[in-house]
Amino acid sequence: MYLEKPTINSILKGLKRLSVSDNTQFLLLIGENCKLNLEELVLSLNKAKHLFIGGVFPKVIYKNLTSDTGIIIKMINLDVVPIYFNSEEEFLNQYADYHEHKFTTAFTLIDGLSEKASDHLTTLFTHLGNNVRFFGGGVGCLETKDKGILLTNDGVFNTGTIVVFLNSNTRMDSKHGWQKSEGPFIVTKSEKNLIKELNWENAFEVYKKCLKETQNINLTKENFSTHSIHFPFGIYKEERDYIVRDPFDVNPNGHITCVGNIPENSLIDILAIEKEQLESISKIMISNCLVETKGTPIAIMFSCISRVKHLQNQFDEELEALNNELITKFPHCELEGALSIGEIYSSGEGYLELLNKSIVLGLAY
């Protein structure tokens, strides 16, 4: 369900319409400019005995539309209580109760702008391994900081990670379409999500020089995010897509902040996207998520906010193509999700890492 400019009352009414009874669990994806007092929302939902998790995103997706003032409400089937954590110790304390449970999927909402985001994913992978599939998105506000961005029945949190374990049959895929443009560069100095040096020189200077030489762009610290959005970094991985790292900020020292960690001494390329790549994404993704069924699956997608900024009009086309492709296969299925700060996806094979500039799509049957 999608509500534009929601109030607490309209949300409670909406829940009634969805026939959400006491003890039904649901997911709230909230656009960052919704004028909602999250603490009051949590109190009201607790009063009404609803079980929920939620996150604030730059924008929410409903069918082929995006909005930063809307809210998506989705019913979900949770076997166990969600876990909120901000350290490995906190996770382990709570996960100890769930060791014996069998899950197919760990639905994860993570503070995408936190330097701890990659560590939290490592924590999840350390203790869950590839026995479950991971799916989710990075929450956060682009315009305001230190605001509540994650919510559970326990309250509103400014940072951290929420993970819920699902037992349903899920199919997921992830794509970004980015290809190498220039490189390689060696990250000779980095600290978590901050690149300090590339090829033993100041990171910003190297990046600036590269964009000048290859794209004839005069990059400055002031116009950095306007251009960097189109030229992300890619960490090379064998036999899989690049892990994209979005350079979203540059500090006075010329250090570039990315969404997600960049290991020191790793090899990165500067990426660009080709139009042809984009056109094929929707078809491939939907087809990878298909299961022969008479029912209607629940569809959730997270697409990177920087992808929207980069693609602009092309993003609308991409979203429409995905929505159309989904409706073609499942006419009653509504594509819902959010524009996120970092995406989470692991099919059960390979190493779990925070993705950037990607689309992740999950269908729960």
């Binding site: 869950l128 391994g129 390689p184 991985k237 899989r240 290991p263 001494n265 790793s266 090899l267 094979e349």
Partner: protein, 569 residues
């Protein structure tokens, strides 16, 4: 191979090489290396197995232990035995890549349900690395395996450095710990030496004092001119000193015998109250020297016939020693010797005093051999610090236990019980029949608090002794140090004197003359002569002078009490 893929490979090896040896902590080092490798190769597990004999201070010498694994949940066990499977796989090669069969899973302790492929590298002589992918087709060919060999070797050396570093730290900790223990042992040995020296110097003084008295009085006895009375006095001194000396030697022998398990005990059933009274009787002479100390025997109600099965002599020795200490360390106030019956029907004996107490710091050492709280040169108290050690050892011998509480300047309470064989016969506690045969049993019942007794005695210790006995009756005591004072006090009669205990040999005016003058003034005052001169004619002389009765030294407390009862009640 094209240039791009070559650059990709080199850059990967570069990244991987630089992730090696970033930390001397083995876990951190493994984490940096394996997570880089897993991320780049998109692997789902990486772990490092090290031979147990290479792990510093490992209790195991065979097999391998996993020192790092990520994610941890892939493994069912972190310790594995040496296996033919691994030996065969690594035979003549340093790496292999195989499907994860049941045999392979068991050999490395992997979870049974896992499927996929493992690639393993030997870490020189230290152990091996396992990399896992769930994709069945991810077998690494020879070239792919060979690409990583150099960097894996480098990783092996870094692990060796970590283990060496860890061993050095553990060695240092062990050395420092051993050093501390050695220092402690040295300090204890030095302290024990000091204690022994203090003990020896102490013991030599303690031995020399009675020996000097024995030699001195023995020499005096050689003199033909001394009268029989003096002679007796000298002999008494010799006997006292000998008995003191014997007690010290016995104590030393006891400690030595107990230490060498040569001391036995004889069990018999005996009455507790009677025994405690005997203890008190032994200590009377000491108590006499402490006029400001009030000594009390405290028994449970109806306990007169309560018996215990234990070694009576040793029980007396224990109590002697504890009361001896209480007297020694109490200058004014009270000392109580008594017992109560605990909830397991075992008598718990106690000795309470209001003496100098024991400081917190010294409390933990008081049962140690050779300890006396004041063993320094300026010690104020006699004895050589074996008393409490002996008590504890004797109590342990009798399968009992001793404990205490104490506060400096407030006093000390010592308790002990003799369990097992020392159980009280409880039925006797209910027997309310009083035992009238025991005269001393009634001392505590006497109440002469309204009476004033004059003691005419020039020797302080003798006065103290008499005073201690009389105090048991709660009577007030007035001391006259010579005959003249005694006459004056009786003349003044303020306070009213109810009885006079008169010594005969006194300065200024002797006892005989004093009796006459007192009786001239006030015939009704009973005058009891107490003297060491027990010749028959002297008794007659005293009675003739007006004395009412006669008691000879050493004074038997029971006899004195009988006389007091006779004249005061």
């Amino acid at each position: 191979m094209n240039t791009n893929s070559l650059i990709t490979d080199i850059s990967f090896l570069y990244e991987l090489s630089l992730s090696v040896g970033q930390s001397l902590d083995r876990k951190e080092n493994c984490k940096n290396f394996l997570q880089t490798l897993m991320s780049r190769k998109n692997l789902e597990f990486g772990g490092v197995w090290i031979r147990n004999y290479s792990i510093p201070y490992s209790a195991k010498t065979t097999g391998y232990t996993v020192i790092y694994s990520h994610p941890q949940i892939k493994l069912e066990q972190t310790y594995i035995e040496d296996s033919n499977f691994l030996n065969q796989c690594f035979e003549e090669k340093d790496s292999f890549s195989i499907p994860l069969t049941m045999e392979a899973r068991e050999a490395i302790g992997f979870r049974k349900k896992e499927r996929g492929v493992i690639t393993c590298y030997k870490l020189r002589e230290l152990g091996f690395v396992v990399l896992y992918s769930s994709a069945q087709d991810k077998l690494w060919d020879e070239i792919e395996q060979r690409k990583l060999k150099n960097v894996i070797n480098k990783f092996a050396i870094s692990i060796k450095a970590c283990l060496f570093h860890e061993k050095s730290i553990l060695d240092l900790i062990t050395i420092s710990k051993t050093q501390k223990e050695l220092e402690k042992a040295k300090k204890e040995a030095e302290e024990s030496n000091e204690l022994k020296s203090a003990f020896l110097s102490n013991i030599s003084h303690e031995f020399r004092t009675p020996i000097n008295a024995i030699i001195g009085f023995s020499n005096l006895l050689k003199n033909q001119d001394i009268n029989p009375i003096e002679q007796k006095g000298f002999i008494d001194n010799i006997l006292n000193s000998s008995s003191k000396l014997l007690k010290m030697v016995n104590n030393l022998l006891y400690v030595s015998k107990i230490d060498s398990n040569q001391l036995n005990y004889t069990l018999k059933t005996f009455k507790i109250n009677e025994t405690l009274r005997d203890v008190k009787a032994h200590l009377n002479s000491q108590l006499a020297n402490k006029p400001q100390v009030n000594f009390k025997l405290v028994f449970p109600n109806n306990s007169e016939d309560v018996q215990i099965e234990s070694d009576r002599d040793k029980l007396i020795q224990i109590m002697d020693s504890l009361v001896d200490n209480a007297i020694k360390f109490t200058n004014t106030g009270n000392i109580e010797l008594g017992y109560y019956i605990d909830d397991k029907s075992i008598p718990v004996f106690y000795i309470r005093d209001t003496g100098i107490g024991i400081s917190k710091e010294k409390q933990k050492h008081i049962f140690e051999v050779f300890r006396q709280l004041d063993y320094e040169a300026n010690r104020k108290f006699e004895g050589f610090g074996l008393g409490l050690t002996l008590c504890k050892k004797l109590i342990q011998l009798l399968k009992g236990e001793i404990w205490f509480d104490s506060e400096e300047s407030v006093g000390s309470n010592f308790y002990f019980r003799l369990s097992g064989n020392g159980r009280v016969q409880m039925d006797l506690l209910n027997d309310t029949k009083p035992n009238s045969n025991d005269n001393l049993g009634s001392i505590n019942d006497l109440d002469f608090s309204e009476k004033n007794i004059l003691i005419a005695e020039d020797v302080r210790s003798n006065f103290n002794y008499l005073n201690a006995i009389i105090e048991l009756t709660d009577a007030s005591v007035v001391w006259a140090k010579n005959g003249k004072d005694a006459i004056q006090i009786c003349r003044d009669n303020n306070p009213k004197i109810d009885l006079v205990l008169m010594d005969i040999r006194m300065p200024e005016i002797d006892g005989m003359e004093a009796i006459k003058q007192i009786k001239d003034t006030n015939k009704s005052i009973p005058v009891i002569v107490q003297t060491a001169y027990a010749m028959n004619n002297e008794r007659e002389e005293c009675l003739h002078a007006g004395a009412d009765n006669f008691i000879t030294k050493p004074i038997d407390p029971r006899k004195l009490i009988q006389i007091l009862q006779e004249y005061l009640q």
